[in-house]
Symmetry: none
DNA sequence: CATGAATGAGATTTCATTCAT
DNA sequence: TATGAATGAAATCTCATTCAT
């Protein structure tokens, strides 16, 4: 008896660029991924439904099927993006570290996240332009409370008790300050690079900014 | 070729909402002012040429006459806005003050300018979205070097000599940090207000932020 | 971003003036046919996209979908028209006929084609105005070599060998001469009719011209 | 007494591109010249009033002042151009020459005129597109009867009498044939050059065509 | 006579969305 | 579920012509 080699069940060929046929989950995910890139790069008004359809390899009609329309899709992209950062935040444990170390970790996380997640920066910019109109619309995002304020408060209290942090710091102000220091540089790096005639996106420039960023926060939190 | 007959202009020539009749300077200025509001509030893609024409009380055709098109108009708005902040900057003399006082003035100027000039914030956001594409196009803006870096350097040197500023501070990093602390709060106040369920645009909140802002910079510049 | 609400299409879906519903081929063809008439009658600059849409009973948007724009559509009309005459030319076999008879056939074909295909005359006029700009753009047309020159050469050689044609005739010059004699009369018949105060489009006038045309060529080709 | 040199009364300076100020004749002429170029190169629909104004260095308003509008200007250009060729024609005396020589002169004149007057070719093309609509409108042009038909008739009769021309030739057919042979080549030289991949505007090509042109006519007129 | 800013009408093109299959 | 042709609305832009000076 001859051995019958079973062919390594490849999908029945047929070349498709986009996602699988009749696979709602993948279709949805493909649209969402393409839309995230498009909205990040072009904003809400600049984004094109056609472009998202093409990018995702999915029929344009599916966007309406799954998301109701361009705005619905945008809101869902926003929700997904916010959910992702909230998810990353809850994974942090800097409030349980030694306070000085914890603060460094918070800064490093913020800086790293902004570097690695241009979509978050981009969508935030778009929401700013629209005065947070879509953020306000989304109950889901409004329910996604950031755990950071609480964690920062815990950290501050512990640092004050140890005498290595200054007293009276408002956690929200500190949170906003940390976000500012990371966001502005990354978000404005193209305009800044143009104005200063220097490529601020270069790795060594990012590294230098990270050092400065950390030092500003360290100076502030000292008593 | 069909004749394009213009109807014998019914309206009795009086009552004009907008400005400027046979006054090119005023017409240009009116368009520019209206465009600044529109681009600030809606971004480049969201802005509508019709809306700018209506706002300015000027015939749409004039926009094309004076600025070539929507993009040309946008670039000129950008140039005007940049020229304004550069003009305000050169009027500053904080580098000649007593160093601690000078640094406070720099912070106060930045914070005040951002509060009073939403158009600068808005256009910067739009340029960020477009990766500074239009900023790069404008030789005029690229030639408008900010005097701030030089002034900050002078100030830092004097403060270091007096022993009240830390050594080794990079003027550009400090400049970016100061800009960050002011920009982010104002630019993101709608999203932040939504997230925190608090109106960060309220006067007392702006005041509180100003205090914090100044304190962060003061902490950093101390030796 | 303001929502662009499409009104819930009132019309009960029936009664279509134009052709093609969900039939890309027919839609394309309908647009092309309407465009050919419009460009022939009004030239490239005089043609109106709206008019083409109306003529073809197709939504204006489809013109951009299928042809990219007015110019793209014009080029395709040009290509189609050139392809048609080339197709007709290759169907000819006058070079295999008895030489005198073959030459008569060539003249008759040219004259008949120009009479029956005003779109060819019209588009040629438009291309002349534009210094063949669009013809040059179309690789497809440039690849459609006319078989006529070769066929004329063959015919001339055979006629010379039989001693009934003159020697030393340049096939291209003869081709251009034959085209001239047909083209000019048809193309300029309105101006000529006006100048001479006589309707040169009348059947008997066309017939008379055809006779003259043939006689001019016959006189020339004789040894 | 010192000699007082009178300055060579130059016009009171002031740099003007266009024609003189307050000189109706020159203004009109400048507009007409510019319009001729524009209409020849772009046709009636493609021509731009702005462009004509710029070319002529005259204020756009003057076009309306002197010519009523674009169409009126076009008609006047047409009239001027026709008047010019009619003027050249009446200057000919080929009908008084020895018949064979006269016919050669007629052909040479036609060929030369078409080579040297692209504006005539261009405007004829535009009139063809518009089915002679503007030519018909102009009583002035319709009154400008070409003397050629009569002169050709005289020539033909003399040639027949001398036995060197064929009998029964219709002067109008011959006139049209001669015009065809010259017009088509010049008018279509860009399309023909593209199709044949050869520059038919080159001097030696024009010369070759002239030879062929003359030979076709000579063959035909022989008995 | 001359200027050039201004305008109304309409042209081309773009886009989110829906429909027929 | 999926497709892609089709559409209405509105956006940007162009142009001949007129108006105020």
């Amino acid at each position: 008896m001859e051995a019958r080699v079973t062919k390594p069940s490849v999908k029945p060929s047929t070349k498709r660029r986009g996602p699988a046929l009749r696979d709602p989950e993948r279709t949805r995910a493909a649209i969402l991924a393409a839309a995230t890139v498009e909205f990040t790069g072009r904003g809400l008004d600049g984004a094109r439904v056609d472009s998202i359809a093409k990018r995702s390899g999915v029929n344009k009609r599916m966007i309406y099927h799954y998301f109701g329309g361009k705005e619905g899709l945008y809101v869902e992209v926003l929700e997904t993006t916010y959910a992702a950062i909230r998810h990353a935040e809850v994974g942090l444990g800097f409030d349980e570290r030694e306070p000085a170390e914890g603060m460094r970790e918070l800064v490093a996380f913020t800086w790293g996240y902004f570097i690695q997640h241009p979509e978050f920066l981009g969508l935030l910019g778009t929401e700013n332009l629209h005065k947070a109109a879509y953020l306000k619309k989304s109950q889901r995002i409004r329910d996604l409370h950031s755990p950071l304020i609480g964690m920062i408060q815990t950290l501050l209290e512990r640092g004050v008790k140890q005498g290595i942090f200054r007293k009276g710091v408002d956690p929200m102000q500190l949170y906003i300050t940390i976000a500012s220091l990371g966001f502005f540089y990354m978000s404005n790096r193209h305009t800044l690079s143009t104005i200063f005639g220097e490529n601020l996106s270069a790795p060594d420039r990012l590294e230098a900014r990270g050092q400065h960023f950390a030092e500003v926060v360290r100076s502030y939190r000292r008593p």
